[in-house]
Symmetry: C2
Subunit: 205 residues, 2 copies
Amino acid sequence: MAEQETTALTTEEKIKEAATKIFIEKGFSATRTRDIAMEAGINLALLNYYFRSKEKLFEVVMTESLQLFLVGLEEILNDVNTVLKDKIAGIAIHYVDLLKKYPDLPLFILSEVKANPSWLEANSNVREMLTQSNFYKQLEATTQKKVEPLHFLMNLLGVLVFPFVASPVLTGTEAADKAEFNQLMEERKYWIPIWMEAMLKTLSA
Amino acid sequence: MAEQETTALTTEEKIKEAATKIFIEKGFSATRTRDIAMEAGINLALLNYYFRSKEKLFEVVMTESLQLFLVGLEEILNDVNTVLKDKIAGIAIHYVDLLKKYPDLPLFILSEVKANPSWLEANSNVREMLTQSNFYKQLEATTQKKVEPLHFLMNLLGVLVFPFVASPVLTGTEAADKAEFNQLMEERKYWIPIWMEAMLKTLSA
DNA sequence: CCTCAGGTTAATCAAATGATTAACTGAAAT
DNA sequence: ATTTCAGTTAATCATTTGATTAACCTGAGG
């Protein structure tokens, strides 16, 4: 997650990279510290030497994963120079690009936050960041008390994130399927703002 | 998942109920057979007596979970007497009711299918069932080759299922939050068909 | 050269965990 | 009354797994 120049990762970094990969792929409970050590090409004891415990190492990975998922979002949400549709477009582009790169990130975060909800309170309160944002105020202005703006936030996250969460169910396992899937996701950068606007327009009818 | 009349569950049923509860709540890797035995109020050895192994027991739970998630869907999708919007309304009502009852079901299925994709091929091929359905043909007719109909399938599932998957992140942990959340989900039975239609209309513009 | 501290390793520990064993119970069958 | 057998239990096993230990490099500083 925090790449070095090209090669030559420090041992501590190699462990963190390996842990990030495997934790995100399999979740906390299903990963063995030995798997991480093997992936990192280091002796198992080194993992504990650098990170004290599996939990501590996971904490590092989880914190960085949450940051990775949330970084860049706040500025889009609170840009006073963009209207609602522009923000939606910005979010769509940002997240399609991010999730094409890290498709397992959402399911990982959702699973681990469910298993241990304190992750959210500890690292950054997503709920407040969303509901206090300029984006949310614009949403409230648009919906004009006719419908909970939260509905549209769920809709946006649903159309944006859910395909990645559900891709193991919706797409095949072959490489061609993956390419086709990414193509679809790319198309969604264009369509999601249009769809969201159409949904919001159902209020003025 | 398969309730007896009122009380008096057979030992085998008690184990299966307990296993279903805990597996769905925590996933395969994070659940201990001892937890299941304790939840069922039985001796640990009985679990292996009746189900041979943790894996075999999980297989039973997973198969029933997939059935629970898919039962009733096929008839809605292939009802020749309903137009697209009616089917969407039927799906929305069906899944809001189901997921209010079993809110952890989607994240469980998505996680375990990702960990072991063969579950889908083994039990019932969801992808074929969807893409071969009358619903999908109606979707194709409506989109008229302008956009992949798969987009709208993802949109529907996204707005319908994602809120439940993300509820640990989006809602608080208190009981009041849960009631409020369920109220929102209830409202979505009404709105989702309207929103989906609005999204589909973006093609004719 | 010697030292010494950080880095690394093989070996091992202790607890957790899935599974099995052997004995016991009670009720139905003979 | 005895046998039999599914159901149940406490105890134990064997493996996995997170963590520690003690030894051993290695290279910078004296």
